[in-house]
């Protein structure tokens, strides 16, 4: 039985609101599948993580042969993590990575979107699709492809690079940033181009006509009017990219096996994985994960704030 068939009064306007029911049984049935799964597989683990972060595992027998027991340590894990250079280096690495990668990616995407939007561009559908295709490729497969393209002897790109006089070396910190940044650019460039292009297409025609009447050439219009008018889209793209970069895991993990500069704790996510599953220190891993989540939470909140402001 429906909870609403009791109010068969036809409401003509769109502002009509269904009657406020106590808690119709049907609503429970609609909500139950989600909330049961969400509770068990998201909320419960989250609470468990919070609990774990207050405990430390200590071996009872000598030399780690005995069992372990959970000892309540309060906020010790948190203070330890905040002073742990390995954990903090993960954030620094991501920050450096963002500083290298985001300006390049965003400016290239913006230029490409402006070129696509310009009257001079031919074969727009082809270029849009060609630029976008990598975004459909699963990230792990993309990482594997580029891993080969970073391998001397296998990669035709390195061959060309060395013929041109370059020296290939994937051991330095900078080249590790470059390797990851290039992978991410390849994967997401097209997405940002399409995002910006869509924003450009939404600029009212009158604005551009006015600029043209005022004597602005295509380049001036692109830089001074178009680029400014889609600043909102650009800001949103930057912030989304930062939040995505924070969560890097599979790609650096894969590259770490070949690029010595990428350590096993190179990003915060890798640190948490290493602490929990290699060092088996669940309490400490939980505390770092909670701190990490707090950073992500604040960043995501900023994204929505700035995003809303930019789009209004």
């Amino acid at each position: 039985m429906s909870a609403l068939t009791a109010t068969p009064t036809a409401r003509a306007t769109a502002t009509a609101k269904p009657r406020r029911a106590r808690f119709p049984r049907m609503v429970l049935l609609f909500l139950a599948p989600f909330f049961v799964l969400y509770g068990i597989f998201t909320i419960l683990p989250l609470l468990y993580s919070l609990g774990l972060s207050l405990y430390s595992e200590q071996t009872t027998g000598g030399l780690g042969f005995g069992g372990t027991e959970q000892v309540f340590v309060g906020l010790d894990n948190f203070t330890q993590a905040l002073g742990d250079s390995q954990f903090l280096t993960g954030f620094v690495n991501v920050l450096l990575y963002c500083l290298v990668y985001i300006p390049v990616m965003i400016s290239v995407a913006l230029v490409l979107a402006l070129l696509l939007d310009s009257a001079a561009a031919k074969a727009r559908p082809f270029f849009r699709l060609a630029l976008f295709v990598p975004h459909i490729v699963p990230a792990l497969i993309a990482a594997i492809i580029w891993l080969y393209l970073y391998t001397p002897g296998v990669s035709p790109l390195i061959e060309a690079f060395e013929t041109a006089g370059g020296t290939w070396d994937l051991t330095s910190r900078l080249s590790a940033l470059f390797a990851l940044g290039n992978l991410a650019t390849w994967l997401h460039l097209g997405y940002n181009v399409i995002l910006f292009y869509a924003a450009l297409q939404a600029i009212p025609g009158e604005v551009l006509e006015a600029a043209s009447i005022d004597g602005a050439g295509p380049i001036r219009t692109a830089v001074q009017i178009k680029a400014r008018m889609i600043l909102g889209a650009v800001t949103v793209a930057v912030l989304f990219t930062v939040v995505g970069a924070m969560q890097l895991f599979a790609e650096p993990l894969l590259l770490a096996s070949r690029a010595p500069a990428i350590s096993s704790t190179w990003t915060p996510n890798m640190f948490i994985y290493q602490t929990a599953f290699v060092q088996q220190d669940m309490g400490y891993a939980a505390a770092s994960a909670v701190l990490f989540a707090a950073v992500i939470g604040v960043l995501s909140w900023l994204v929505t704030r700035v995003g809303r402001k930019a789009s209004s």
Partner: protein
């Protein structure tokens, strides 16, 4: 049944919404086709050449690595190193393929099937669960509704890193670790999916439509499945593709949860081959052909359904 070719720009986020996908694009009246650009001033041939050369250069950048993968998939281990990357050598594609499918008792086929189950079935179920919950949030009024919705939004902010480790611990104490369900079930409920589904329902399904169905005597489930769901088809496809891609790309959970290789999704399987390749280069052709084969269905799926998700980009909804 409408054949809506595009998702309309997302209207303002629903009441009490948290992380809003920013509404993109102006009103349709102001949209300009590419025809408008072409109708303007004729650019000089020099700038036409420069513009298209730059675009072509970047198209090469995006397409060459994929071209390399296709060419490399035809080579044996020796030719991978011994011949130029973009030059064809002896065609060993079929040999590579048979070798790969024979490896480890045909485990690759198993991995592909697992992926269909985790990402395909999982995403379909996820969409249904999201739409059901979002339908309740959008079409009914009940006590504590917005509070409950806020509770859903908390989940959007929780990174997988925080839940994966405790999930492993919980799974190992309940015997779910190293089982199919241990990877499948945790990925079905998607808070972001519910959030987006609610926006889609608010913009696609007029309340009057549902009310009219009820007046005609349809029950709540009937109203959902026979009235709302058909209208929501494009939205459901968009949600499905997002969930599919999220599950396909979730590497952390199966890595932690599974040790039995026959339960691996294909991404994890190829990853382990790639790790074995460090010691034994003969794994290289398997990794390369495997990557190509794992990628093709995903690319085909997205290309076949591009009219659905493309408009979603403008709505700032995807990823």
């Amino acid at each position: 049944m409408t054949t809506a070719t595009s998702v309309p720009p997302v209207p303002g986020a629903p009441a009490g919404a948290g992380p809003a996908a920013p509404p993109r694009g102006g009103s349709p009246a102001h949209r300009r086709g590419s025809a408008r650009a072409a109708a303007g001033r004729r650019p000089a041939w020099a700038s036409r050449i420069v513009v298209n050369l730059v675009l072509a250069g970047f198209a090469l950048y995006t397409l060459l690595p994929l071209t390399w993968l296709v060419i490399a998939s035809t080579k044996d281990t020796a030719d991978l190193v011994g011949t130029h990357g973009f030059a064809l050598a002896d065609l060993n594609f079929v040999e590579n393929l048979t070798r790969m499918f024979a490896e480890d008792g045909g485990i690759f086929g198993r991995w592909m099937l697992n992926t269909v189950a985790y990402a395909g079935v999982g995403a379909a179920l996820s969409v249904l669960v999201s739409l059901l919950a979002a339908f309740a949030f959008e079409m009914y009024d009940f006590r504590g509704k917005e509070k409950a919705f806020g509770f859903v939004l908390i989940g959007v902010l929780v990174p997988a890193a925080v839940t994966t480790m405790p999930l492993y611990l919980l799974a190992s104490s309940t015997g779910m670790v190293n089982t199919f369900w241990g990877v499948f079930l945790p990925q079905v409920a998607s808070p972001f999916g519910v959030y987006l589904a609610r926006i889609f329902i608010a913009s696609y399904v007029p309340r009057e439509l549902i009310e009219a169905a009820r007046i005609d005597g349809a029950g709540d489930f009937r109203a959902f499945f026979s009235v709302a769901l058909p209208v929501l088809k494009p939205a459901a496809v968009t949600l499905f593709l997002m969930a599919f891609s999220a599950i396909w790309n979730n590497f952390f959970l199966p890595l932690v949860m599974l040790t039995d290789r026959s339960l691996f999704p294909v991404a994890l399987g190829i990853y382990t081959w790639n790790q074995q390749e460090i010691a034994d280069p003969a794994y290289a052709p398997l990794v390369i052909v495997g990557s190509l084969l794992a990628m093709l269905p995903v690319v085909a799926l997205f290309l076949a359904l591009q009219r659905y998700w493309k408009a979603g980009i403008g709505a700032g909804a995807l990823k």
